[in-house]
Point group: C3
Chain length 303, copies 3
């Protein structure tokens, strides 16, 4: 890995991404071979915001590599409460660990923190900013299920606020992918993201209804539409309802469709989809472990 820190999916070239995904595939094929690889190494966990999936899968990843964690714990119990700056906190904690994962509510905080430390820092989500390990596990899941070349993907739901979506869409421009964006008009891609994708030469199309494109998709990536984005509850229910899917919806899809979701879901994917061949969202969550193992291995190896 030529990078010292992993701050944004945008820093990763196609070669970087393929290095991580190839290594994740090697690890997934023979995890036992990596069980002692980083024995004695400590990963510092700095979660300034709640997290289940990211924190637990980073924990599982370092432990599956033979290492261990040093956890700051909930921020209410930390010296941040005593007015300590983020720069001071990370400079203290780097003395307790061989690498750091940080989640923080402020966009740009991961970049800033990385400038103060000598150990590798991985961004576990910085507010409305980046969440690169989520993007990598999404790419891994797409590649394993549908391939990343000559791919047609539909990304549906809240395309305006979802950092997961922006990051994924950008990363997909490294590959030969047709991207369809499906959302209500009020939650379309922000102009800046659309511009960015065009700049990267992406092939994108926008839709307001899934039917327009469903049958052509290899992958359907669903995200949640949040009630707080709407002025009143009735409008929310009406709009959100149009972007929920169930087993019936998917009858019009290709038999090979892969349905993904970053989770947690509420009701945007009905539980009757869970038992179909389409459902790949739990596998997607589980892929967080080999992908994070691969990243940690590459970063710790480089030290």
């Amino acid at each position: 890995m030529r990078h010292e820190h992993i701050i944004s999916a945008k820093q990763l070239s196609r070669a970087d991404i393929e290095e991580v995904l190839d290594h994740a595939a090697e690890i997934a094929a023979d995890p036992e071979a990596y069980a002692d690889r980083h024995a004695g190494k400590l990963l510092g966990l700095l979660f300034f915001e709640p997290s289940t999936r990211t924190k637990m899968s980073f924990t599982a990843a370092i432990k599956r590599l033979g290492g261990d964690i040093v956890d700051m714990g909930p921020v209410e119990y930390s010296s941040v409460k005593k007015g300590e700056s983020l720069a001071d906190t990370v400079r203290v904690v780097e003395g307790y660990a061989d690498a750091l994962v940080m989640r923080h509510p402020s966009e740009g905080s991961a970049q800033m923190a990385s400038e103060f430390v000598d150990v590798p820092l991985l961004n576990g989500g910085d507010g409305a900013g980046q969440h690169p390990t989520q993007t990598l596990l999404d790419l891994y899941t797409i590649r394993e299920n549908a391939g990343l070349d000559d791919l047609t993907i539909g990304i549906m739901g809240d395309l305006k606020y979802g950092r997961t979506v922006h990051s994924l869409a950008h990363a997909l421009t490294n590959f030969d992918v047709h991207q369809h964006f499906i959302s209500p008009e009020s939650l379309q891609l922000p102009r800046s993201v659309r511009y960015d994708l065009h700049e990267e030469g992406a092939t994108i199309r926008e839709h307001t209804a899934l039917e327009e494109v469903l049958s052509s998709l290899d992958v359907l990536y669903v995200t949640r539409i949040q009630e707080e984005r709407f002025p009143d509850e009735n409008e929310y229910r009406e709009v959100a309802g149009e972007y929920q899917i169930d087993a019936g919806t998917l009858e019009a899809a290709s038999d090979d469709l892969t349905v993904m979701h970053p989770l947690p879901r509420v009701d945007e994917i009905d539980h009757d989809v869970d038992d179909t061949e389409y459902a790949t969202f739990f596998e997607q969550a589980h892929n967080g472990v080999p992908v994070r193992m691969a990243l940690l291995d590459l970063l710790l190896e480089g030290q």
Copy 2:
């Protein structure tokens, strides 16, 4: 272990119980022999409710077997707060661990969760429902101190609401045990539990005063009477006071009496009992480690 999940003490036959207790005794006799037995194995901790004893002793147990934990942490910091269903949470987390322990406020939740996962799930307490590992460590403590055959036990305190008591009483019907229940009338065994014990052929008697039976007991199992069960504080004090014991109370007991308590205690056992030969409640808490090591070993071995 013929079971895949451990949900309820009721699922355990006499043979199952003896398999666990025998194995716990082997482990307690030579813990070093098990120190690397499950190296690399991860136990997922899903505590949707506070716990000290159960969580810490499961943590110690898997670590004493060479394994490690992946902890969801307090529920306020989890995606449950974002509206995720329990079924989704456990299906995600099973991808991070080789077995799961769950504590949850809703009766029946452990059974439900176990139906969604392929890794072993252990119930660490489901509301007013079951807490099978508590029952097993109680049985282990009784067997080590007084034996489970030809045993006379008194169970005292809140017999109406205490799940620990119901579960233990049921499990004891597998052995040759005389069970005495001592409580105020308002906190007697529920009719359904009494019926269940009769169905199982148990020999039970109910009392309102400890003196009626103390001298005949091999084991006295004390539980807490909670203030909130009473309409007013004065009534509580009066009633609860009659079911508190101290060193003086125990002068009428057999020299071999074993006094147990699931802990935490408040004032139902006076501190002057702690230094007597009767006091077995700290040993009982400590027995949680070998008993949970035995269970985990049997479940992980079977995989």
Copy 3:
């Protein structure tokens, strides 16, 4: 280590201190040699109050020795909330661990708790009482940077309420040290501490301005002046401002000056000091790991 528990810096003789610091230096010089030394050993963490530095560095320390932790977690999630006494909690938890670290808001609690357990107990701070491992890492940092013999140290800030300061000042009486205390009059050393230092034969002088003594110092130990010690905000700002330092302040200092701070800092040391040769406060925090490794190794070895 001739001590079974580490409760107070006052229990440590000069020989004890040197044993710990010498061993910490050995460990820091070759940490790999200690990586499996206490494999399988469990350190119980009982933090009844928030902590970042102490908890994380004890965690790193036991893991760098090959051991692991069993953490009670935040007190809100523990059985302490159900009214359990501290004596009961520690007697339960000692069954899950090979040693205990405890932080508790009540002065004297660590001493009391140690009387109930058979495993080594380390005081991680007991309210206004003692915090001996902080003192040891302070001494280690001083020795590494300036030596403990023929030392001139200035201790500045809140000298009235700071337990860190009292403990350090007392420990320094074991060595050949000139101690200067710099503070506003309202926050001078308490009479009892001053008396104690005189009893120990310490050479101390008190000042209200840093300029009086800065140029003669080998070490400047800065602590925070807290707003809540002052009747009104204006008075606080005026007084506190006089005891803040920046790179300009330090132009009058010796080139070899070592600036320390127990952290977290707010604004008593300006960030422009961080990049100077004087700044030793992050190194000081990091020294918590080898010093705690040394202590744990000595205590666990003795078992």
